[in-house]
């Protein structure tokens, strides 16, 4: 494996020009995926991606890179299954390695309520193309012998749901490949350029303000993570979003290969092994809405305890790094994509703790909406106006972070 992919990937930044057909705010996975799909699927290349920091340096670089489709409602399973399949094809399509690694996902239940939830979810998964099978405890022991099936005696494992197609990918490489693919076709990307205002004309959003000046746009797309409501507020759009911190950490290298991604809904924890052999752990979001990216000892202590309850070997490992991202949580734990009621201003937000896996499909459907003016079928259920129409998409149990 080449450990220095930046030597082979060519990224040349652009000074923004004065006008574009499409300006995308946010140079993370979603923003760059929209640009990539506009260029590759619709031949729309007069596009600018603005990023306040460096590309992929927001939540795309702060998540735990799990790719799965075992969600709890038909609309979500269809969408994430499509995204998962697109992820698999993306390496060949872009010609760039993303360290896409199909590991399988083992989701354990330790209570009657947990089992009920997994059974319901598996039925929906099966019906909509995300293959899921049940495992009895002895079968779990075969798939993942490291698991303590009694979980320290306190949480005997009753059932596992195995999602074979679960995978991970390297977040930087995903971002770089999409950026490179878009830029090679003429898309401009400008890191270090924050949007400080929106330009309005007769009730329409017609551009953005940056420290370097005004940039006109046929369409402005907010692909912002963390500050989605701040940008929407500039457009006069109210969003159903609260921003919560989400923490994660990695340990030092575990000497043996640890194959599946292991999750427990009841314990509120999930773990996978990185390509470097480190164990990567995530858990629930912090309870207070906050833009702070401070990590806490509470989470570190509690999550470590949960981890060694399920996987006792982790007792021997040490914590290397802990970090925090900002998650845009929607009330129904589903994303919000598309029109906002303000002409010229689209959003893709509400990516909470499930955004990384949605990067290919999210960019694809948004690009189609921009190019054709028609809302694609996969995207339609996730419209912002679903809340006013009483058509929310409650999927809390599938997030793995609650």
């Amino acid at each position: 494996m080449n450990e220095h992919p930046e030597a082979e990937i060519t990224l040349r930044w652009n000074e923004p020009e004065v006008s574009y057909d499409v300006v995308i705010v946010g140079g993370g996975g979603h923003g760059l995926s929209i640009a990539y799909h506009l260029a590759t699927r619709h031949d729309i290349t007069n596009v600018l991606v603005l990023e306040s920091g460096y590309i992929g340096g927001g939540n795309t670089g702060r998540n735990t890179t799990v790719i799965r489709a075992n969600y709890g409602i038909p609309e979500a399973v269809r969408f994430y299954q499509h995204s998962l399949e697109r992820y698999r094809a993306l390496e060949d399509e872009t010609g760039r390695a993303m360290m896409h690694d199909r590991k399988g996902l083992l989701w354990m239940a330790h209570s009657e309520a947990g089992v009920r939830q997994e059974r319901a979810r598996s039925a929906v998964n099966q019906a909509f193309g995300a293959e899921t099978v049940y495992l009895e405890p002895d079968e779990i022991a075969e798939v993942c012998p490291e698991v303590d099936l009694t979980c320290g005696g306190g949480f005997p494992t009753v059932l596992g749901a195995s999602f074979h197609q679960g995978a991970t990918a390297r977040h930087d490489r995903v971002v770089w490949a999409l950026a490179e693919g878009a830029m090679r076709r003429g898309v401009h990307v400008a890191p270090g350029t924050a949007v400080i205002g929106l330009v309005h004309d007769a009730g329409r959003v017609v551009g953005v303000e940056t420290a370097g000046g005004r940039i006109a746009a046929g369409t402005v797309v907010s692909a912002v993570g963390g500050n989605a409501t701040v940008l929407a507020d500039m457009a006069g759009v109210r969003l159903p979003i609260r921003t919560h911190p989400l923490q994660a950490f990695v340990t030092n290298r575990h000497q043996r290969r640890f194959d599946p991604i292991v999750a427990s809904g009841d314990l509120g924890f999930y773990v996978s092994q990185t390509a470097r052999g480190q164990m990567l752990l995530g858990a629930e979001i912090d309870r207070q809405p906050s833009y702070s990216r401070r990590s806490t000892h509470d989470l570190l202590a509690s999550l470590s305890h949960r981890a060694i309850t399920v996987l006792p070997f982790m007792r021997e490992l040490r914590v290397l790094r802990q970090w925090t991202g900002s998650c845009d949580m929607s009330p129904d734990y589903s994303p919000v994509m598309g029109d906002t009621g303000v002409d010229g201003f689209l959003v893709t937000t509400g990516w909470g703790t499930w955004g990384f896996k949605a990067i290919p499909a999210g960019g694809e459907v948004m690009a189609e909406r921009i190019a054709t003016g028609v809302v694609p079928e996969l995207m339609a259920p996730f419209a912002l106006d679903r809340f006013g129409r009483d058509r929310t998409l409650a999927d809390r149990g599938s997030s793995g972070t609650h």
Partner: protein, 81 residues
Amino acid sequence: MSLRIRCPHCGPRSVEEWVHGEIPVVPDAIADPDARDVDRGYMHTNEHGVVREAWFHLSGCRRWVTLWRDSRTDEWVEPPG
């Protein structure tokens, strides 16, 4: 460091003992009563700065406390004015 909340009855306690409660503010600009209901039910101001909020001390005195916090830093601040 972890977020600690100063309870007027129990002293400083870890955030783990508390339930967060948003105090919803529907903008005056929204006039239509149905639209106001939707906003109150689903939309959030998601303040980027100082926010007034309610906390319920679930694993303690079980009382509600109103506090002001800077959402950019998670620091507690005095009520403005």
